[in-house]
């Protein structure tokens, strides 16, 4: 059952992890995170520019279009660091949009798009139409003249994306359409109010957008690319949630070491201590799963073992952050109930994070088929 326990981490990954942690620590103190909460874009363009200069957008993209060809496995440590310091921005959206397109079609066909990504133009994928991650209903279509109709919901970073990769259908089969932000009619983007105020998402009405033939990516490879995109999405969100869960635990533990009641530091009470240990072991499990999955994902289509690993990573990380956020609020007592307490950032992140790329039950249901059915 537990057959594949591959876990490797090379020097490149260790170096990237070091740099990413230092960068996020320096650029994203809590004061900066909070300052961005009610800004329209939700992120700091200067910091984004530095991330682009560090080459992070191209880590998983081929060298001939300006990437470094290291593979998506090397992105995991960056995303974990961003989660740990709650550094906001369209990094996950852009990385995943590039992965989807690069996996769906030869890079030469979409070199303009990929070069833009490496140069730091944010991109996103417009996928969902219903809240159900298990549904593949698709009513966002284009007609014989290439004119689109229909609306996508929950599109992450929609307002700042220069490119939007729309999941649509062509001759009855899944297809992708590359849309530039300037092609959207005025008022097409309607921002959502999100539970996690560090994030941004919107619904987009594509009705009336004219697609050029070269903007449409179809063929069997799209189906495989969509499966991989969805699993990689689960993995990156899991990595980010794992980082956030670790930070959340640290915040709680710090409070338990300083707050006194009944003449004692409250961290000495086992009723608070033991759940913290439970959270620690859950964070440890999540970290093991995300780097196990990172050891199995490659440029090529993902294997069954990689699928199992990505799903386990997401199931574990979602539940871990939910539990860590929930207990963080509770263990801060009255302070925990306030907006001022950082526990709110984590409990909100947890609600957002669990609903990206399927919640824990969604993944366990699919894992059951993979693991239990002969």
């Amino acid at each position: 059952m537990i057959a594949n326990t591959a876990l490797s981490f090379d020097e490149d990954q260790a170096m990237i992890m070091d740099v990413a942690r230092e960068f996020c620590r320096e650029k994203s103190p809590m004061s900066a995170v909070r300052a961005l909460l009610d800004s329209p874009s939700g992120y700091d363009r200067a910091i984004w520019g530095e991330m682009v200069d560090l080459g992070w957008l191209g880590i998983a993209l081929p060298e001939d279009i300006g990437g470094s060809g290291l593979g998506i496995s090397h992105t995991v440590a960056i995303v974990e660091a961003m989660g740990r310091f709650m550094l906001a921005g369209p990094f996950i959206s852009t990385t995943l949009a590039a992965q989807l397109v690069a996996r769906a079609t030869p890079a030469t066909r979409v070199d303009a798009f990929l070069a833009d990504v490496v140069a730091g133009v944010p991109a996103t994928v417009a996928l969902q139409e219903s809240p159900d991650w298990g549904s593949d209903d698709c009513a966002c279509l284009f007609d014989d003249e290439g004119v689109m109709s229909g609306t996508k919901r929950f599109v992450p970073d929609a307002e700042v994306a220069g490119w939007i990769v729309v999941v649509t259908r062509h001759r009855g089969a899944p297809a992708l359409a590359l849309v530039k932000a300037e092609q959207l009619p005025a008022g097409a983007i309607k921002p959502h109010t999100l539970v996690d105020e560090t994030r941004r998402a919107a619904s987009i009405d594509f009705t009336g957008v004219q697609l050029a033939p070269e903007a449409i990516i179809a063929g069997e490879q799209v189906v495989v690319a969509l499966c991989d995109f969805y699993l990689l999405g689960a993995l990156l969100v899991a990595a980010e949630a794992t980082g956030s869960a670790g930070a959340c635990l640290d915040t709680t533990v710090e409070y338990l070491k300083t707050r006194k009641q009944f003449g004692k530091l409250i961290g000495s009470y086992q009723a608070l201590k033991h759940p913290c240990v439970e959270i620690l072991t859950a964070v440890d499990s999540a970290r093991s799963f995300i780097y196990h999955a990172a050891s199995l994902v490659t440029e090529g289509s993902l294997t069954r073992d990689a699928e199992i690993a990505c799903r386990m990573a997401k199931a574990q990380a979602s539940d871990t952050l939910l539990h860590a956020g929930d207990r963080a609020v509770q263990f801060h007592g009255g302070m925990g109930f306030t907006y001022e307490c950082d526990a709110q950032l984590y409990i909100r992140r947890a609600q957002w994070s669990q609903q990206q790329f399927g919640d824990a039950a969604h993944h366990r249901k699919r894992l059951a088929c993979l693991l239990l059915d002969e």
Partner: protein
């Protein structure tokens, strides 16, 4: 001396073939699931013969010195034997307190005389060893042990009671933690460590019947029992330090243990296989959504433990909470094992209520017995609750 990959691979094939050819047939009576469950002479004889056979084949104590009955080869070889034994689910090597605690300790810090006297008998299973650490009033609070050892000429006089003595009624020797000085400032500093014979007057054992209905432990009473002064290991007052040192050998042959299986290995695959023919509401149990969800959770737990062991060895991936994985391993694994076994019983429908002895019990009541026995690991060696305190204080830095 280190072995080449090729040599190790050849050796693995050789071990595998040898075990397959010599794996004992089902003896027709219940075998212990761990070394803590040897409850009757029949089991004792069987396991003694098996361990002797393993040693005779050269597959036990392989890394121990040749002059004391060992094989004198690098520990990788023993590691391979242990893996193959686990894979083929052969019986345990039951003299665990000797093989995994006393033996490696004597190898590390014992005198030549002690090595010559004790080591070979541990390997051949001629001398069974037991452990006298816990006391009725001092279990988790082991550092407070009160059994007294008073020097009298060439002897120590022992008074007190030990509990959870594994195979106390069969053992020839005990590793004994006793207080030589009741007046030290730190409770730990008054403890001393003895390699004590169990056959003298004044030592009585009373078998303890466990929740499984079986035996395996004793309570051990010392009433003016006299043991030779040379039984003291190290010096007086070093008992706590030496007792703690014995714990490190749990990490296997690489750490100095003689090898062999201490526990029957039970993995989630075993449980899932036994559920395949079960029904719930007239449908296959394994198609029930709730059962499936719970099974996946358990599979993930088992996998997380295995992955954690690997991650613990990758330095850049352990910077957040150094030693967290090592320190929490026991807690995570034993708690998981207990819940997994309990779950197995819950899935058995009405047969879940049957126990060892009923001919309709599934697998002879294996899971019921395994569940009850699993508490030996969530309680023994520091209860899960004490483990959680240790992790909270040492890893998270929470106050005592």
């Amino acid at each position: 001396m280190s072995a080449s990959e090729q040599e190790l691979q050849d050796f693995r094939l050789q071990v595998s073939a040898c075990l397959e050819a010599n794996k004992p047939a089902d003896p027709g009576f219940l075998l212990p699931q761990s070394f803590m469950e040897v409850g009757n002479e029949q089991q004792l004889d069987f396991l003694r013969n098996w361990q002797y056979k393993v040693w005779s084949a050269g597959y036990l104590g392989m890394a121990w010195p040749e002059e004391y009955g060992g094989g004198g080869v690098p520990p990788e070889y023993q590691g391979i034997v242990d893996q193959e034994m686990r894979r083929q689910a052969v019986p345990i090597c039951f003299n665990v307190i000797g093989l995994g605690w006393a033996g490696p300790l004597i190898n590390d810090i014992g005198t030549e005389e002690e090595k010559a006297r004790y080591l070979k008998g541990i390997l051949t299973a001629e001398d069974i060893w037991c452990q006298g650490f816990s006391e009725p009033d001092y279990g988790s609070d082991l550092g407070n042990a009160q059994t007294r050892a008073v020097r009298d000429g060439d002897e120590y006089v022992i008074n007190g009671t030990k509990i959870w003595t594994t195979m106390g009624n069969y053992a020839r020797y005990m590793i004994l933690l006793a207080r030589t000085d009741p007046n030290t400032e730190r409770k730990y500093d008054g403890l001393s460590f003895f390699l004590a014979p169990m056959d003298g007057p004044g030592i009585e054992t009373r078998p303890i019947r466990k929740i499984t209905g079986e035996y395996g432990f004793t309570e051990t009473f010392f009433t003016d029992a006299r043991i030779p002064a040379h039984c003291l290991m190290g010096e007086e007052g070093q008992g706590w330090k030496i007792a703690m040192q014995t714990l490190q050998y749990e990490r296997g042959a690489e750490a100095g243990a003689a090898g062999g299986l201490a526990f029957e290995r039970i993995v989630i695959d075993d449980m899932i296989e036994q559920l395949r023919d079960m029904q719930r509401d007239g449908e296959p149990l394994l198609s029930d959504p709730v059962t499936r969800d719970q099974l996946v959770r358990l599979i993930m737990e088992e996998k997380a433990v295995a992955l954690g062991d690997k991650r613990a060895a990758i330095a850049p991936l352990t910077t957040d909470y150094p030693f967290s994985l090592q320190l929490s391993n026991k807690l995570r694994f034993t708690e998981y094992a207990r819940r997994m076994r309990q779950f197995a019983i819950a899935q058995q429908g009405a047969t879940g209520s049957l126990y060892v002895g009923d001919d309709q019990a599934r697998q002879g009541g294996f899971w019921q017995r395994a569940y009850f026995n699993s508490f030996s690991a969530t309680i023994g060696g520091g209860t899960s609750q004490v483990q959680a305190n240790i992790i909270a204080e040492h890893i998270l830095g929470l106050p005592k």
